[in-house]
């Protein structure tokens, strides 16, 4: 297996209900569609019932060792406790994307830039309530492409359940906004 895109060790973290696991599944599905090695590992403890939720996603051209990402090269953080917990773990040369409505952007560490996007606000303004997660995946792709853009669109279509196809169009719009964010 070889891909035009490098390996990705991603941590997504936030509150339960923000769609953290779905956003992770979207990235994982893109890896599946490009026939890469993929792992998606959620937290499944009591935190899933409304507290913090996080998940590890790996895309690789080699068999994946630990599916638990302890040294992420990319972090998507959607709340302060998640940012505080995971930002120090991001490797040099990596990057962090956060929802700047929920987490104030601080002076970044050397070699770990922070991209703040007021995704929850933008989503609400656009009538896309609850789709800040997908928007942030779009921003992730823009800053750190991890698959072909068509693949990401295809993955989104695959992740929206057949019975909820009416949600595909708003999801596409949220992704589009994320992809276009400067």
């Amino acid at each position: 297996m070889s891909s035009d895109y490098g390996n990705l060790n991603l941590v997504l973290a936030g509150f339960g209900g923000q769609g953290i696991l779905f956003a992770g599944k979207l990235v994982a599905t893109a890896g599946l569609l490009e026939d890469r090695a993929v792992s998606w590992l959620p937290s499944y403890g009591p935190e899933m019932r409304g507290g913090t939720a996080n998940c590890s996603v790996c895309l690789s051209d080699e068999p994946i060792g630990s599916p638990l990402v302890t040294d992420p090269d990319v972090l998507i953080a959607m709340n302060q406790p998640s940012f505080d917990l995971f930002y120090p773990l991001v490797v040099s040369g990596g990057l962090t994307i956060l929802d700047s409505l929920l987490v104030p952007v601080i002076e970044p560490r050397d070699e770990v830039p922070i991209f703040g996007v007021p995704a929850t606000q933008l989503a609400d303004d656009e009538g896309l309530h609850g789709l800040a997660n997908v928007m942030l995946v779009g921003k992730l792709w823009r800053e750190h492409p991890f698959c072909a853009e068509e693949t990401l669109q295809e993955a989104l279509a695959a992740c929206v359940p057949p019975r909820k196809q009416q949600l595909l169009e708003p999801n596409r719009r949220a992704l589009h906004i994320g992809l276009e964010l400067a």
Binding site: L32, S39, S66, T70
Partner: protein, 365 residues
């Protein structure tokens, strides 16, 4: 599209693979982190025309398994650590009555109710003392979601061949994670070999005597003969069914032994150790019982020391020591209570081991 790769959770894959392996009966009881398996079965099994029942307890579920197995059905149950403890009486009966069944344990932290995070603390229970009396189960340990799919099919086949319950020993990490998986082709039920011992009544063609499935035998000599016969089968299993995977073992001086999800972490740890010049390798037992002693034996000539890495306080390390039998140092590194060791910790443990062994060698010289 039977051969298309799909992204699925380990727990659901175990269920789907069982359905495709001719499993027609499932009896379970919910417990985190394996509940998705039972939930998936609840949805799918009735559509397949099989029997699904959420029993009133784990004890009831395993006794339903006992009945279905005696009748010759391919039957499965699943639980997580505390639930498996409740099933152990029934598992001992299955062993005693020589009945095949597949038992899934998606391990969580213990003892007692413990926690719900991943653990490998039931190694001893699975390989040594799953219920009272002399006996074993074949124990298979998957490390990937793909292997979970393949292993369920293997488990049913081995169970039928050797007339023994088979355990698939997974953990919360494998149960909860998603990976791409190619599911096995659905098995043609007609291809499953006939079970002449099954309790199907005397009406079958050529059948004039009744079959009995029972673990009770009050005549001392008879019971011993039955046990001897079973242990002859165990010897065959040990000779023919040991399975293991190796990684970078050919020139390995420091051999990590790890199973299941922990083996994946150990593999990353071995790579890190190699990057700093430690000749590390990995043996991943796929069968925990029978333990792959021949693979350990093969690694022994080049090995300066072994390191068992587990998500418990040191259980499989006993089997490594038995296999090594004093011919090399065997050390242990592990985390418990749902804490997952990191590749960096494994690499550090390997560096420490190298230092200890080298220092001891210098002293001797």
């Amino acid at each position: 599209m039977p051969n298309e790769k799909v992204l699925m959770k380990g727990n659901e894959v175990l269920a789907e693979a069982a359905l495709r392996s001719g499993c027609t009966c499932f009896f379970g009881y919910p417990i985190t982190p394996q509940t998705e398996l039972a939930a998936y079965m609840a949805k799918r099994m009735p559509k397949e025309g099989g029997a699904y029942l959420q029993a009133e307890s784990e004890v009831a579920a395993i006794n339903m398994v006992y009945g279905a197995a005696a009748a010759g059905a391919r039957v499965m149950t699943s639980s997580s650590s505390p639930g498996i403890s409740l099933k152990t009486e029934g598992i001992s009966y299955l062993v005693g009555a020589d009945l095949p069944a597949v038992i899934i344990n998606v391990m969580r932290g213990g003892p007692g109710l413990g926690g719900i995070q991943p653990s490998q603390a039931d190694y001893w229970q699975a390989t040594r003392a799953l219920g009272h009396g002399d006996g074993h189960l074949i124990v298979l340990a998957p490390a990937t979601v793909q292997e979970m799919a393949d292993m369920v099919a293997t488990a049913f086949a081995l169970g039928d061949t050797y007339r023994t319950p088979v355990m698939v020993l997974a953990d919360g990490m494998l149960g909860q994670m998603m990976e791409p998986v190619t599911l096995p082709e659905p098995l043609d039920l007609a291809s499953i070999e006939d079970k002449p011992w099954a309790l199907t009544g005397t009406g079958a063609p050529g059948r004039t005597t009744r079959n009995i499935a029972n673990s009770l035998d009050l005549v001392a000599g008879n019971l011993e003969r039955r046990n001897d016969e079973r242990f002859e089968r165990y010897e065959q299993i040990k000779a023919k069914e040991q399975r293991a995977e190796t990684y970078l073992i050919d020139d390995a001086e420091y051999v990590v032994v790890a199973f299941g999800a922990c083996a994946r972490i150990a593999r990353s740890g071995v790579e890190r150790a190699r990057a700093v010049g430690i000749k590390a390798g990995l043996i991943r037992p796929i069968t925990l019982w029978p333990f792959p002693t021949t693979t350990i034996e093969a690694a022994l000539p080049g090995a300066r020391a072994f390191l068992s890495v587990e998500m418990n306080k040191g259980q499989m390390v006993d089997d490594v020591r038995l296999a090594v039998n004093g011919r090399a140092p065997v050390e242990f590194y592990g985390r418990t209570g749902g804490v997952i060791p990191t590749p960096a910790e494994v690499a550090t443990a390997l560096a420490d081991l190298q230092q200890t062994v080298t220092a001891a060698g210098t002293k001797e010289a």
